[in-house]
Symmetry: D3
Subunit: 310 residues, 6 copies
């Protein structure tokens, strides 16, 4: 390997390095700053989420040496770590709101990030209460669930909903971008894609979950249950003069209490699904559904059957 090729090695290395580190390369992005400001870190955010799970469900995630004697110590240590990680990442997120070329007011951002960390930790007990209702809903509602413990240890939906509730809280506290990174971590882990902007009530259950999509402006009541592949999506976008979608307009459905939506159904647009309604599997729904209505696929008359040797 010690031949003339090595001159090429040096040349290639230096040419590629120069091109890839040129500031022009990241046009319209100015997240890289001078020394001192934190950047959002996928690994630290992931660690933050792991710690949230470990204090929301002690003994189920993270530290496996917790017991009834040491639980308060374990939770205390983890909460402190969580606060530190969040404070740094909240700063990183807030910095992304500073326009290219503008100077960040670091002191103010640090203060705001510190407040976010405090407020977030303060709301963890209430978050835990809501998540316990989700566990209950998934345990009661699934004949395959043998215990509440199994739901916590195994159900991907619980992980996705936990990340959502964490992210939603951070969004309420005014942190940009980080909430979305958090729900995408769960999307990657579970195949369930819940936008942090959605509003979701108590006793929320998702079964299996792969392929579920819940859009940014969706509103979901209490005791709602979804199956795998359900989309609560937008039907179409209002376009601006350049034919690009206009951002920020409500465009996802409103789902009432006690609604059940079976697998692979798509509910699209700013429509309402009334309380106690049931949406059958594989349906494509783009208009309102009244309270208590049941929608099912018509008789499977579009299936052709024939013997394989026909």
């Amino acid at each position: 390997m010690d031949n003339g090729e090595n001159f090429r090695h040096e040349e290639v290395l230096k040419r590629a390095t120069k091109a890839l580190s040129s500031q022009d390369g990241n046009k319209n992005m100015c997240h890289l700053r001078r020394h001192g400001e934190p950047l959002p870190s996928q690994s630290q955010i992931s660690q933050f989420v792991d710690i949230c799970r470990s204090v929301l469900f002690p003994g189920f995630f993270g530290i496996d040496s917790v017991n009834t004697a040491n639980i308060e110590y374990v939770v205390g240590v983890e909460c402190e770590k969580l606060m530190e990680l969040l404070e740094t990442q909240a700063q990183a997120g807030l910095l992304l709101d500073v326009k290219c070329g503008e100077t960040a007011d670091m002191a103010q951002i640090a203060r705001k990030a510190h407040g976010v960390a405090m407020d977030f930790v303060d709301s963890l007990p209430e978050m835990k209460r809501m998540l316990q209702t989700d566990v209950e809903a998934m345990y009661i509602g699934d004949p395959a669930a043998v215990s509440r413990e199994e739901v916590v240890y195994c159900y991907p939906a619980l992980k996705a909903i936990t990340n959502y509730r964490i992210a939603h809280r951070l969004l309420q506290l005014g942190v940009p971008v980080i909430p979305r990174i958090i729900t995408e971590l769960a999307h990657s882990e579970t195949g369930i894609d819940i936008h942090p902007g959605a509003e979701i009530g108590e006793y929320f259950a998702i079964d299996h979950g792969t392929g579920v999509v819940i859009g940014a402006t969706a509103i979901i009541g209490n005791h709602v249950k979804l199956y795998q592949g359900v989309t609560l999506g937008a039907k179409s976008f209002d376009l601006d003069e350049n034919n690009n979608p206009i951002k920020g307009i409500p465009r996802h459905p409103i789902i009432g209490d006690n609604v059940v939506i079976y697998s692979n159904a798509s509910i699209l647009g700013r429509i309402s699904i009334g309380k106690n309604a049931v949406i059958g599997g594989n349906l494509w729904v783009t208009v309102d559904v009244a309270e208590g209505e049941k929608l099912v696929q018509a008789k499977a008359n579009n299936i052709l059957r024939f013997k394989s040797d026909e």
Copy 2:
């Protein structure tokens, strides 16, 4: 950062810690015990699965310095590790069956867990034989597969089926909860959700796989092939007096030998799909299909076509 806020820091930390470590918070769950008993550990179970893969497919997963000279040493060391991890996790799983308030017979649980570890390792060679048939089925059946090695290195379905076969064996050996954690690890990794309770024959193939769901009481013959998004699910649940699903009733389909089910088809309820049947993509099947039958979507007469400027 050293301002009055810090008093709030201490106060918030202590309040949240106290609330989150209160025993009341995990109602109906008593997995946390006094010193000495292991808890199920997601990271140790994940490590256990990684080691199983490394001994079932030496050189493909895990240790990358295995060669023809040292293979027996490598496999021996890994099997020992696997046994130790399993013994601990099996104990942890068995403890979850002990009711809240009851005292666990630790000696008996330890003995049972030891037996589980022995029996499991003893059955690894047969498990490997079956997985080789799965590799063969995926290699032969997929025009995109260039070699058997590629199937082992790349196909997510092989990972999901490996986890399933490990978990199914542990379920047979009487270990609670851990099997489900193992199949959910694969669900997260591959988007393929196979319940450890399902019974699956040899030469089983899944292509692409994202979104596949195979329920707890499904029974699948030999030489069966599924495509992405296929659900072998329940149609409806028998409800108890509280309107909650009754647990433990057979409610998923029985699939005969040599059946092929194309992408996104849903086969629901305790129905039978006869040998050699073929189920077309996107179908919603809730009634029995006879041996050798082919089901395809009727002519796509429900699609409207128009020019985009109409």
Copy 3:
């Protein structure tokens, strides 16, 4: 634990080890060789991809201490690491092409692998340029995207497309198996399954993404946008005399510029979707679609509605 069971421990360990390390066990696979040759390593390939992402999007992935002062140093160090990892893994991949029983020309393979590493690094700047167009397409086309930074930090599709562009380049450079491992890493991470053999133009966007499948011989133009669950698949395979699919025949669709395909649509077989066409959600398309055509689901006349107490 120090009872008669321990004799069983030794016996079980040795019997399983012998069986699992037997060369017969991996029939038709001869990837294990004598000392000196590298095997493909999932963890090293994963590290390679992480480093590619860190130099293609500095500050977004990987090293979070990069800033405007040190960016060239960081990128240079990472490029060197990437080259080393790739050189080894390319060797490992090339060795898989050596037939069982044949002797590998290690010097030639090492030379080829070195060239691959050089050529790959040399093409990183162009790859970055293309990926910037993908970011742009996803930012402009999604009303939920608040900034380009958010797209890079959060969108799973960007990760999947990055892995695809890396893998596609390695396939062009003649490396076997490794490219597929790389796209499967993204498949696992995002639920988006793009075969490295596909050809994909600039400004490519996928929204949500879970369940998307793009087959090995698919061809996709510029400015194409897909939603979750879209399959660009094969309709049927030509079979050989043993009834097995023939490998290597074009069997996936050709998608023109500016096409949009909505969620869960399946486009199957070697058909053409003309420029500017729009394919509605949930459709099953197996015939050509003309330029500018719009396909949507006919009126949802196969849905039955009734009040839940009927």
Copy 4:
């Protein structure tokens, strides 16, 4: 590298492995047992010591994120870890007392080890009190020490004395071998070799410390100070019929309160150095020294001086 040499590789590997793993190889040692019993682990003992240091001197060693708000949580978590590590290592130590060929009573050993862990943790506060006196002695007595904090952060003697006090306590609690491993960790780290059997009072100080040796039966009062290279050793050993030293006889000096011993002095045999005595540097002392006596080297009359060109 893929030449005939490789057959040698396999042959050499297997021959060396067989020879090195033969039970005959470790004659008179039977520490290796069947499955289930822990072995002393240098890395776990080292971790145990690190944790002891972190709870004895919170904020100085180990966890660097401790603060006044979270200190109790941090210390509690560390104490629990310490207890678990100690319980396992105490078992490992106790097992070494079981004769070759005899069967260990694992239940009794486990019970004893548990008791050791409890008793050890219970005595940590008193150990901390004594170590604070050592800090005080080193701060007051060394003109180079600028603060007590510097003593704790920097002085190797404090590490050696801490390890000694930990090891001495474990020896009192009846744990074999582990105490010696702990003092040897400090010997390696600091060059100070204190046998865990020595008895050492409060306000103990060592300056610089490299080369200090304190034998197994030495007894040291309060407020004693040693400099580098001091040996408190044995002068000669009583021999048995085979001319080997007889084990267990008191053979090291007794040092009274307030004694100072300067660098490289050797105090040998079961002699007494009376209270308030001062031993000058480089001396070789083998007879008793009375209370308040000062020993110094006679005038340096054995040094020859000449100009270098003589």
Copy 5:
């Protein structure tokens, strides 16, 4: 293990934790502060030193993949890391100077720490030049040294001198405590104890080194060579009214250029050893030595020889 003992577990854990985390326990030390201020971290300082070594001697320490093509990138990345670590640790050190009860001016401390980091990195090239003279001296002066490379890779003295030169620079820049931690790291690693306050010229050599002690106010010229066990110490301390040593008075020797001091010699007190002097092994020197003088041990007339059976 699940017996009555467990109540003791909880009780012992909580009692010890409470006692050990009590603020009273660390009397006269107030290094623990509220949230936000860094503490000196032994592991981060150790990392800082490792990185200094890796940039002062690229390819010898740390990163082993540095080569002529990537050296600038590697060094740049490491310098940045080093700067960050130093900035934090310098803050931690400066905070130790803040009196108990006083409020730290964090902004000023941060500014000073930043300046320290800048100035330190700026002086690295000069530090490297001096260290190259030390390498040269050790290579030329030791018949056992086969190459300069061997000196850098192997000689403990080079590590000790490197740490000293780093620490001395930080002391000059006004950083408390951290310099001493750095020289103690080398003391632990090499048995060579050089106080950061000492002043040492170019071409400094130490052979073997174990037991060498160089006091805080020692001054050493150029081309000086020491052997193992040499002490440049204090003879006696001026005491204050409490009989404690007064801090900060010059009390260690001044060593002229080209002096050689052989093994285990002790040079004590504020004396001068003139240029070109040679001090023989094992000597105890407490008075001035003139330029060019040679001191050797008088004829070994204090050794008794007899046959062992006498």
Copy 6:
């Protein structure tokens, strides 16, 4: 932190980096080469030594899960790792012998390094046999040793002698520099400095050990015992025309069988210490000692005693 200082940051970083990575900086050293050649790596050599210890003393060092059932697997895996590490590091060492400016014959170096690795592993069993004699000597000869196991777990001398025997073997096999790095690892760990060139017989014992120095040309018989601080050194060096020591001349003592040398004695120059001789502590010996002679310090007539208030 985002002030004008940052321009200084960039400037300082770039200036220091340029200076430190300049090739001129390492004058007379050309260890840095182009891509592909390994450098000696302290961390890999350290790992190599750890693995040697783990196979020479299975269960005492390294892997703590070895037992009688899995010992052969564990040892086999470790031997393979050891071989790989050694092969790479031997190459790195051999490359240091290539003169600056000359081109290395990489193929020949690789072949030689492979042979070294084979030969080294082949000699491990004999090395183990010798080390067992050392253990025996230290157990029998030390009244403080309670078991052979304690000697292996705790005695620093055993670690130093193990490293020496490893390094000596590598020197015999013609590997430059690496052997010295290995003995310096032990020097750092134990304070015992044995040059790999020394020749040392069986049943070798060192007690305590800190400060022991054994020179490159020393020859030591069987059943020799040394105490702490013993130097087997050179008395003076033959100088070349530049007044620098001439390298490679025998200059250290020859020690006969059964010799005992007590603490801090210095034996200097190419003298002979005859069989069964005993050298007392603190002696300075520069002339031959006959067989069976005993040397002790004359009556301590150079000590002045006075009461401290005199």
